[in-house]
């Protein structure tokens, strides 16, 4: 958890539950953020990393700004997602798949590519939803709101060198 930038103040949590009560997707989480922090304290690593909680986080930052102890809850959710991916404890999880597909695109093009993202992601995780989503995709295409081919940045090589070095630094810790 130390990888979270700045001081996450995780140890300051007083288990009040303001986070879970403020969370728009809290009802779908198997543990509220408060409960997850209690599990972290209890050192139940596997249970924590298998939790769907970080993956249901929508990064709305309500919990972060409402937390009376100023715990950086949303940032901690990002760290937990990273740890879960590294520990390979996220089976059957479309959210992790979405993050990985998106990551591939950013690293290959330097830009996100909505059409490729939506098709590849849905093929992998929800193949039966594709025909139903076709009108939406066609609408975006015909309104000029989506590209069929990705856009590349010019100095992609520079970006890839930067990201490769950052990955080395991250793994070295």
């Amino acid at each position: 958890m130390a990888a979270t930038p700045g001081d996450s103040r995780l140890e300051m949590c007083i288990q009040c539950g303001t986070c879970g009560g403020s969370c728009p997707s809290g009802a779908d989480m198997d543990h509220t953020p408060r409960a997850l922090f209690a599990l972290i304290r209890a050192d139940l690593r596997r249970e924590v990393l298998r939790s769907n909680t970080p993956w249901y986080c929508v990064s709305c930052y309500y919990c972060t700004v409402r937390c009376p102890q100023e715990v950086h809850i949303t940032d901690l959710m990002y760290t937990l997602k990273n740890l879960a991916i590294r520990a390979k404890l996220y089976e059957e999880n479309p959210a992790a798949g979405l993050a990985e597909t998106f990551t591939d695109q950013v690293e290959n093009f330097g830009r996100s590519f909505e059409f490729g993202l939506a098709t590849r992601h849905n093929l992998r995780h929800r193949p039966f939803s594709l025909p139903g989503l076709a009108p939406l995709g066609l609408g975006l295409l015909s309104k000029g709101r989506m590209d069929l081919t990705p856009r590349r940045i010019q100095n992609l090589d520079q970006l890839q060198r930067i990201l490769a070095r950052a990955k080395q630094l991250e793994e070295a810790v």
């Binding site: 997707s25 990273n82 830009r111 939506a118």
Partner: protein, 330 residues
């Protein structure tokens, strides 16, 4: 003429094209100049940080470094997209407050021949610049077609008012800057208690039931207060409230019709600019009836050029043509 460094972001270039077009259209009226960061890359949205934490800061670090190198006499970096704005602001914020992070980001940037000194650009959202630098008086003075009678729900979403590292919006849950602008355009601002509730972000790709309920609440709220339309300041919010409003209606078998447009499109309308040039007509939930209320004829809806796919055999989804993904064939 005040100049700014401008970071459009991937969404503004495509799915939120009306946001970019209308923003560029009103800059002349307002007397500002937005100069794009050369060769900027994606900000990583909410996805990149989920799988690569440190690289996600290096990813944004490159944009900050490129922006800092821009010598157009300004240090202010402006983004229109909420996620882009937050990621730029967040990286700068944590590089200022976490020396180890700053050091590691710069070590990574060195591999690309770049450096970024934290704090050397000031990251701001377009709304912040329009209300605080341009000001309501100037905006009001440019109105030639008041949006009289138009009932607008101002919708902020999450990532502009929160976490708001530099306290630019004064209130995380009830900011009112967007309402002030809309009022200055002559429109009626409706009470909209859900104005900073979440649109669900990328949730439509993860859990439809969760996502559509979040969208339904927002659309229902605006509908209850009889809004003619919602004004958005974020590409993701607009996509969810507009394109996914159609999907949400199918999901719940409802028939909500609350158009969602970008606040810059409304500004352009009030400044007398052409509706088509401002990107009207590209929304899924048509704003034509709302525009008619203020005497503006909407550009004809862009009909689907591509015929809908024939019935597909079960288990072989091929509703959309496959993208070209070099080296990543499915």
């Amino acid at each position: 003429m005040p100049k700014y460094i401008f970071y459009p972001g991937c969404s503004m270039e495509r799915s939120a094209r009306p946001y970019l077009d209308s923003t560029l259209a009103i800059q002349e009226t307002l007397g500002i100049q937005l100069e794009e960061v050369p060769d900027w890359n994606c900000c990583g949205a909410t996805e990149y940080a989920a799988s690569h934490l440190l690289p996600s800061y290096a990813l944004v670090g490159r944009n900050l470094a490129l922006a800092a190198k821009q010598t157009n006499g300004t240090r202010t970096l402006v983004a229109g997209c909420s996620a882009c704005y937050l990621n730029l602001a967040k990286t700068d914020h944590y590089m200022r407050h976490d020396a180890q992070l700053a050091d590691r980001v710069n070590t990574a940037l060195t591999a690309g021949g770049l450096q970024y000194q934290a704090g050397s650009v000031t990251v701001r959202h377009l709304l912040d610049v329009l209300i605080n630098d341009i000001g309501l008086d100037r905006i009001r003075s440019k109105v030639v077609r008041p949006l009289k009678g138009l009932r607008v729900a101002a919708y902020y979403g999450c990532q502009v008012p929160r976490p708001d590292y530099d306290r630019r919006f004064h209130n995380h849950e009830y900011p009112n800057q967007l309402e002030q602008i809309i009022k200055a355009l002559g429109a009626t601002v409706i009470d909209f208690p859900l104005k900073t509730h979440c649109c669900g972000g990328h949730m439509t790709q993860i859990s439809e039931a969760t996502a559509y309920e979040m969208i339904r609440q927002l659309v229902h709220g605006a509908d209850q207060y009889q809004a003619d339309l919602m004004a958005s300041l974020c590409p993701m919010c607009q996509l969810n409230l507009d394109a996914y409003q159609v999907e949400m209606n199918k999901f719940f078998k409802t028939s909500y019709h609350v158009p969602t447009v970008f606040f810059t499109q409304l500004m352009g309308l009030a400044f007398g600019l052409d509706a088509k040039a401002l990107g009207f007509g590209k929304e899924f939930v048509s704003a034509a009836a709302a525009l008619a209320k203020i005497g503006v004829e909407a550009p004809p809806a862009e009909v689907d050029q591509v015929p809908p796919p024939a019935k597909l055999p079960r288990g072989k989804p091929s509703g959309l043509p496959m993208p070209r993904m070099p080296g990543q064939e499915e």
